[in-house]
């Protein structure tokens, strides 16, 4: 009897957790799942909660990218102008987009959250394009764009 119950439970779990079902509706299922599974809150979160976890990932990535930008000033002084632009753009992600998105999703007006998340992707792209093909930040900015588009898809489920 216990075996049957256990098997049934395993079947139910593998049938599609909240994370699975949510991530299926985003442009990058694998990225979405790996981001959400890497957070302990992921397994018990509702869609709002999942969105907030992803926004947190955006915040962490933005911080990491800003540190990288700061380090590049010394190593690549010829890139100063583009780095300045990127610094401004990534500070916007941290100081404007992320807080706006967190507040909006927590309070149940997800459209402002969508705006903030979309903007994070825009800012990353603009930063990238400032290097005119010779960017030292490509993998970081691509990451931001991908996370932004996945997060946006999740936020849209709240509308």
């Amino acid at each position: 009897m216990k075996m049957i119950v256990m098997v049934m439970m395993m079947m139910m779990m593998s049938e599609g957790s909240m994370i699975d079902q949510t991530c299926k509706q985003t442009p990058d299922f694998n990225l979405c799942v790996s981001l959400l599974n890497s957070d302990p809150r992921g397994s018990s979160a509702d869609i709002s909660g999942l969105a907030l976890i992803l926004i947190d990932k955006i915040k962490v990535l933005a911080t990491k990218t800003l540190n990288e930008i700061n380090g590049l000033y010394k190593k690549r002084p010829e890139l100063k102008q583009a780095l300045d632009q990127c610094s401004r753009r990534y500070k916007t992600i941290l100081n404007a987009d992320v807080p706006e998105a967190i507040e909006a999703i927590s309070k149940g007006v997800p459209k402002f959250g969508e705006d903030g998340v979309i903007d994070a992707g825009v800012e990353a792209s603009v930063c990238e394009e400032g290097f005119q093909g010779k960017s030292p930040l490509t993998s970081l900015t691509k990451s931001m764009q991908n996370i932004s588009s996945v997060t946006r898809a999740v936020v849209r489920m709240l509308l």
Binding site: T26, P27, Q81, A82, D84, Q85, R88, R89, T92, N95, A96, D97, P99, E100, E103, A104, S106, K107, G108, V109, P110, K111, F112, E114, D115, G116, I118, D119, G121, V122, E123, S125, V126, C127, E128, E129, G130, Q132, G133, T141, K142, Q145, S148, S149, V150, R152, A153, R156, L159
Partner: protein, 648 residues
């Protein structure tokens, strides 16, 4: 601020408009012309022409709506450039040549408008509780005192004698109670029978629940209504069973029912069905919820900022919100959370049970092919009855279409549209007509009058001096002979597929269009914003007219959303084509056929600024010569400033 519209970074696309003087035709919408002999009885053809121009919206708005993004998106994909779209995919441009645009303060400070309402700094969104009281128009608004993005929302406040010259006042409502600790959100004002004001607004509680609260002026004898008292028994409404705690906001102005009670409606959703809940009250403190809804429409998502009001079928004045009767239709309007589009529908209200049915269910509230106040950037709109001049006035929130980094750098985000009067189109009965309030004419300074014949493929500079603050009123006539040829010629196929959004913008040339003005243009037209008519040969050889604004070449910057906006516009028998354009730095408002179709756009030129801003008239049609008769006024600023004793 970026949103769900398609983002098209600038490519090095040539602007055919600037080349059109030399007859370069990049794309055409019609076949090669065949020589046609004009019939002797061309008079009959002329009659046929003008008779065909009575059209309705039925089926004719099929090209508008949600498809907009799809078409612009496909174009962008073909061009290999990055885009934003509703499918959530945002890709880095493959075009490595696109330059990132570093905004400098000179460019950014030019963007601030001169005569549109905006606070001194920071973020604004929905209009709230507009009203007229003791000689002043009051305007309240969602405001963030701390940043240039949405958040920490309070009610800003301003007053004006004329809806144009505004004076900033202190904040009216702040989140100082548990029931609005997380936000003092949108609400509406109602005048009671004794002339006193009650304000209902949504609060986000300390537990993030959306509730409705009552407030009223602390001192009714203060014409400035500086201070407001919140009812000690708040909240007066909490989300009812079956309604989500975060799906319950934006209460309307109340109207009197035949039984003498007050009635309000509040938008919400059940699954994907947009709905409007109905409550009755006698004192605004306790309410009875109706079992039935005012209305609902499946698959439209959450209804925000619902508005409900009567319009006269016969008269051009506005009506108090409580008016009912056989001479009246009722408008239900909602802001669609999913698409950021305001939709309305015309219908019949049943006061006995508080329900409403649309005249035309196929274009019900929120249907993508349905009616909109504005086919551009325009959201969270709200009307009020101006008892001073017996008008119904419409306010609309015009957000930014740029990046949040730019908003943070320039220190502000969002403006309000110029308030518009709203009436039913008494000729068709099937759409509303809007027009900027008359008081805006007080800003008109010098003007120049023009009368020009513009041949096919021509761009003409219009010398008006400074061109960032303009009021343009224009009348266009297509040369009769040209119309006859087009209508009579079998090789010119009926263009059933055209819409502003999928029409390719202002550079795609048709037989009878596009023609109009390029505003906020630089001398070389490397940046410009065409506002234009595009006339097509529709079914049964009838003419069909579209009114569009193409922002795709409005700026060299690539971190800005640049859609082509617009819609079909009904042109009645005997009507000339008319348009009015208000230009005010980073906002352009276009009104076609006296306000039957309106388009608001936000544009952010980098070169066409300050003394370099120019105005052009163009006719990009292949065959038709167009005569334009127009007047251009320089517009003064409204010099909106904080209220001081000198302003009394």
């Amino acid at each position: 601020m970026a949103s769900t519209e398609a983002l098209l970074p600038v490519t090095s696309r040539q602007d055919p408009l600037s080349e059109s003087r030399s007859d370069q035709i990049p794309e055409t919408r019609r076949k090669r012309p065949i020589k046609v002999h004009l019939a002797v009885c061309s008079g009959l053809l002329l009659i046929a022409l003008y008779v065909t121009l009575i059209v309705t919206h039925d089926g004719s708005t099929a090209q508008n709506g949600a498809k907009d993004e799809t078409y612009t998106e496909s174009r962008a994909r073909l061009a290999g450039v990055s885009e934003k779209s509703n499918d959530g995919v945002w890709r880095l441009s493959d075009d490595g040549k696109t330059e990132a645009f570093p905004w400098n303060n000179t460019m950014l400070s030019w963007q601030r408008t001169a005569f549109h309402f905006q606070p001194e700094k920071n973020w604004m969104n929905d209009p709230n509780g507009p009203l007229f009281y003791k000689g002043w128009y009051h305007f309240f608004y969602q405001y963030n005192p701390n940043a240039a993005v949405w958040g920490d929302i309070v009610w800003g406040h301003a007053v004006s004698k004329d809806l144009i010259h505004w004076l900033y006042l202190p904040l009216a409502l702040v989140p100082d109670q548990w029931y609005d600790a997380n936000g003092v959100w949108t609400g509406s004002a109602t005048f009671l029978d004794d002339g006193s004001i009650v304000m209902l607004y949504t609060g986000s509680t300390d537990k993030f629940v959306q509730v409705q609260n009552l407030a009223y002026p602390e001192d009714p004898s203060d014409p400035l209504l500086l201070k407001w008292t919140k009812f000690s028994g708040n909240p007066v409404l909490v989300p009812p069973p079956g309604i989500g705690a975060k799906d319950f906001r934006d209460p309307t102005t109340a109207w009197k029912t035949s039984s003498g009670k007050w009635r309000i409606t509040i938008g919400s959703k059940i699954n994907r069905t947009g709905i409007s809940l109905v409550y009755d009250t006698t004192d605004f403190k306790t309410y009875e919820k109706h079992e039935t809804l005012l209305h609902q429409v499946p698959n439209t998502g959450m209804w925000e900022c619902v508005d409900f009001y009567p319009v006269s079928k016969t008269k051009v004045n506005g009506l108090d919100t409580s008016v009912k009767g056989p001479d009246v239709k009722h408008i239900v309007k909602a802001s669609m959370d999913d698409t950021r589009i305001d939709h309305y529908a015309i219908g019949t209200y049943d006061d006995s049970n508080g329900t409403w049915v649309p005249d035309n269910p196929s274009i019900d509230v929120g249907i993508s092919t349905g009616l909109r106040y504005d086919y551009g950037k325009f959201y969270a709109s709200k009307t009020f009855y101006d008892q001073n001049k017996k008008r119904r006035i419409l306010w609309g929130w015009i957000g930014e279409s740029d990046s949040e980094a730019a908003d943070v750098q320039k220190g502000w985000s969002s403006v309000q549209g110029i308030p518009r009067t709203v009436v039913l189109d008494t000729k068709t009965g099937k759409n509303l007509v809007q027009w900027p309030v008359e008081e805006i004419k007080s800003l008109r300074l010098s003007n120049k009058k023009f009368h020009m014949k513009v041949g096919p493929g021509t761009v003409v500079p219009v010398d008006v001096g400074s061109a960032a603050q303009l009021d343009i009123e224009a009348e266009f006539t297509i040369k009769k002979d040209d119309l006859e040829i087009i209508l009579g010629e079998d090789s010119v196929e009926a263009d059933e597929e055209f819409s502003c959004q999928n029409g390719g913008g202002s550079t795609v040339r048709g037989a009878l269009g596009p023609f109009g003005f390029s505003v906020l243009a630089d001398q070389s037209l490397s940046e410009h914003t065409p506002v234009y008519f595009y006339v097509t040969k529709g079914k049964d050889s009838k003419l069909k007219t579209f009114f569009c604004t193409d922002t795709s070449r409005s700026t060299m910057a690539n971190d800005v959303v640049k859609p082509v906006y617009g819609s079909f516009v009904p042109v009645l028998k005997g009507e000339k084509l008319t348009m009015r354009i208000l230009v005010d730095h980073s906002i352009v408002e276009g009104f076609a056929q006296g306000g039957k179709t309106c388009i608001t756009s936000r544009v952010y030129p980098t070169k066409a600024i300050y003394g370099a801003t120019k105005l052009f008239l163009f006719n990009n049609a292949i065959d038709a010569t167009v005569t334009a008769s127009f007047k251009v006024w320089q517009m003064n600023g409204a010099f909106i400033h904080p209220y001081s004793a000198d302003d009394l």
